[in-house]
């Protein structure tokens, strides 16, 4: 580890944080100097986002210190962090859709003249900020709700920049940006550097990390693995630090050719507002991995197949018969199940019991199929099969760990005997032990004859679990890879020509 430069803007020492007993951060050290871009990399669930939330005042750490300019800080909220000169660009949009761009950009720190918000200054500054990141088409008076995703991300960046922060956190800033916007962001980051601002740059895209950063800190499972000077390292080293290979051996065996059955689900030239000309085949017994960056259409694919936002063109066949998947109900009746990405918002019913959560789908759709007692007995068996750990099946699910919650959600779907299972980030935010249990379950389901589609941004998981991988980009299928593909193969397809030209 190189010597930290003397005048550190931001210093983190021994940061610890747990959620519901799951340790997310464990003794993380980090520092940022003026004009430095310090990249933070790591797998999904390594603790990057949590660390950033702590630095920006969103969470309070369980232990450790945050120092700004050498002075220890206790952030009781985002406001304190802002005042200390720390700004953040959130990964999820923190924007008010009914307000204008200018109002969003300046929320919490509106420019004031003689006690009044100076709307003109606000608009002008917003215009300047937008211009400084090369966005000239976006009007400061436009309502954010009417903007596209990429433009909203631009607003999000402008919002953080408007803070005059000395330390700026960028959490996956380019995830939703178009190529030319990424180029502009590069220029912007360099300009910020020249102004002496320290940047914490969180990204999956190693190209960006190498292009921009001076130092890189690698997080893994909540611990800091290493901090290196960018000049002294290369992609391979970094990836090794990030993923470690020790877990890869724990992935269950892949399907053999005997396991593979006929084509169960076929999608031909299907599309909707977010998807274009999707062709896809899913066989019984296989796990089809779906890779791609956030916003590439991965989740949109799952949601289309489950009838949440249905396909508007093309056709879908199930076991050779055409099906119309217009609503979750029709998808469920067709034998499709969907484990959502946003477990808290769409996966669980937090204040209901484990049993009620597990019975939810059966009650809604399969109620007529079997008797009450038999159904409950079956769901209890399923809960046991997936090895849910809880104080009892009448415990409220919100008190369970993420992994156990996910198992309950899984049991809910298994009760319907689905033929096709769609998993969207099934192990996000789940501790290591539970992760491999879920991997085992997914594989067991495939082996029992189900067709599984699994979306994951966790590359080792995607590579370790899939019998076949399709990678999505811009709402299309960018390509298909065999089981023995590498992370680089996936990334190449996922990011398209930017990575190719840079390499």
């Amino acid at each position: 580890m190189p010597d930290p430069p003397p005048a550190s803007l931001l210093t983190l020492r021994g940061i610890r944080k747990s959620f519901l007993g799951v340790r997310v951060l464990d003794g993380v050290d980090l520092d940022v100097t003026p004009g430095e871009v310090h990249a933070v990399v790591g797998e999904n669930g390594a603790g990057k986002s949590t660390l950033m939330k702590i630095v920006s005042g969103g969470y309070a750490p369980d232990g450790g210190t945050v120092e700004v300019d050498g002075a220890p800080q206790v952030f009781r909220g985002p406001r304190d962090a802002q005042r200390a000169g720390i700004g953040i660009i959130h990964q999820e949009f923190n924007l008010l859709s009914d307000r204008t761009v200018a109002e969003n950009v300046h929320l919490g720190h509106e420019p004031v003249r003689r006690g009044l918000v100076d709307r003109r200054v606000m608009r002008e500054r917003t215009g300047q900020l937008l211009a400084s990141i090369g966005e000239t088409t976006l009007a400061p008076d436009a309502t954010v709700g009417g903007l596209g995703v990429a433009q909203q991300q631009v607003v999000e960046i402008a919002k953080a920049l408007a803070l005059d922060a000395r330390v700026l956190i960028m959490d996956e800033p380019t995830a939703a940006l178009a190529d030319h916007e990424v180029e502009l962001l590069y220029g912007l980051v360099r300009r910020l550097q020249q102004r002496g601002i320290g940047l914490l740059y969180v990204s999956h895209r190693l190209t960006e990390v190498f292009d921009l950063s001076g130092r890189i800190t690698v997080l893994k499972d909540g611990r800091r693995v290493t901090t290196v000077n960018t000049a002294d390292t290369n992609t391979d080293d970094l990836v090794r630090h990030m993923v470690g290979r020790e877990l890869s051996s724990y992935y269950p065996d892949r399907a053999t050719s005997d396991d593979l059955g006929p084509v169960r689900l076929a999608v031909r030239d299907a599309g909707n507002r977010k998807l274009h000309a999707v062709d896809l085949q899913l066989r019984a017994g296989e796990v089809l991995g779906v890779g791609g960056l956030q916003g590439s259409g991965r989740s949109a694919l799952a949601r289309a197949l489950f009838g949440v936002t249905p396909f508007t063109t093309g056709e879908v066949t199930l076991d050779g018969r055409p099906v119309r998947l217009r609503s979750p109900r029709s998808a469920m009746r067709a034998g499709i199940a969907y484990v959502t990405e946003d477990r808290k918002g769409e996966g669980i019913v937090p204040r209901q019991s484990v049993l009620d959560n597990a019975l939810l789908a059966t009650r809604a759709v399969g109620a007529a199929r079997s008797g009450r007692a038999a159904r409950t007995r079956r769901v209890r068996e399923l809960l046991a099969t997936v090895e849910v750990r809880a104080a009892g099946d009448d415990q409220e699910i919100r008190f369970l760990s993420g992994g156990n919650q996910q198992k309950v959600v899984l049991a809910r779907w298994l009760a319907l005997d689905p033929q096709v299972l769609l998993f969207d980030e099934p192990t996000r935010g789940i501790d290591v032990g539970a992760k491999s249990a879920i991997h085992d379950l997914v594989r067991r389901l495939a082996r029992d004859g189900a067709a599984v589609l699994m979306i994951s941004s966790d590359l080792p998981e995607l590579l370790g679990m899939s019998d076949r991988i399709v990678v999505m980009r811009d709402g299309r299928i960018a390509g298909e890879l065999p089981a023995d593909a590498t992370e680089e193969d996936v990334m190449t397809l996922a990011v398209g020509h930017v990575t190719e030209t840079d390499r």
Binding site: G345, E346, V349, A364, L383, V388
Partner: protein, 327 residues
Amino acid sequence: MQIVQRRPLPLRRVRLRPGGVLPILAILAVLLVLVGIRQPSFLDPPSLMSFLGRSAPVILLAAGQYFVIVSGEFDLSVGSLVTAQVVVAARLIDSDPARTWPVVLLLLAFGALVGLVNGLITTRLRVPSFITTLGMFLILVGAVYLWSDGAPKGGLSEEFRRFGRRAIEDVPLLGRVPYALLVLVVVAVLAVALMRSDFGRTLVAVGDNPRTAQLSGVRVWRTRTVAFILSGLAAAVAAILLGGYSGVSFQAGAGLEFGAITAVVLGGVALGGGRGSVVGAMLGALTLELLFALMNFYGVSGALRSTVQGAIILLAVAVSATRSSSR
């Protein structure tokens, strides 16, 4: 292999968790003790039975309101619906005993219809239920006054009034059992059974997290609409009992919607949905009724009663709110 551990703790029945019935039981017990000290004869079976009988309409309304609130909505129209039902019943029956049963059926259908309209406007037209049912409240009150020219007409038959007013006398042990109490017991059993059924569990899930429910195949709009229909039906039954108990009046349902919502919240049900039991809601209504009786027994000045009521509601809700947020 670790399976779901089942530890049948003794506490499981009286759920200590937020939304449980223990706090309301505690309040109820305190009030009962206070009544017992002041008016021991109140606790004699016959008088207790009468009390339960006369409280039945309010308890029924609370149960109806519970379905709507637990699914994440409001029903402000129940009070006006009760008034409308009583006035309609009087005019249609017009003191003719033969019309009693047809009118009872008509009232139930009318209640269900109002609930259906409330539900469809709320779920299909996406009008917040506060506004929908507020509008329905104005419409019902206006329409019923309009229809009856400002003064209730006709009269209720003795058969109709029997449900709310009379009792089976000379019952061993209990002394007397009001018909209203029988109706209440039947409806309460139905309500509890309903909440244990698939529909009931789904209803709570819809109130807790409609997105999850929808993605699990629940037709959220239909479930909520049914909740409104149940509320309308409960209002119809309450109107039949209340009309029976006290006769025709434009005051029959006045303010009952706020009473019912207060009772439900007092019973540990969260506004916004997803938490609380129908038993808690009904106990909440019973507690409010007991509080009013208590104030009669203690001779609390009539004008000060709303202050007492307001203070108790704020206290109870504040305590449960801080208790649940500290978890």
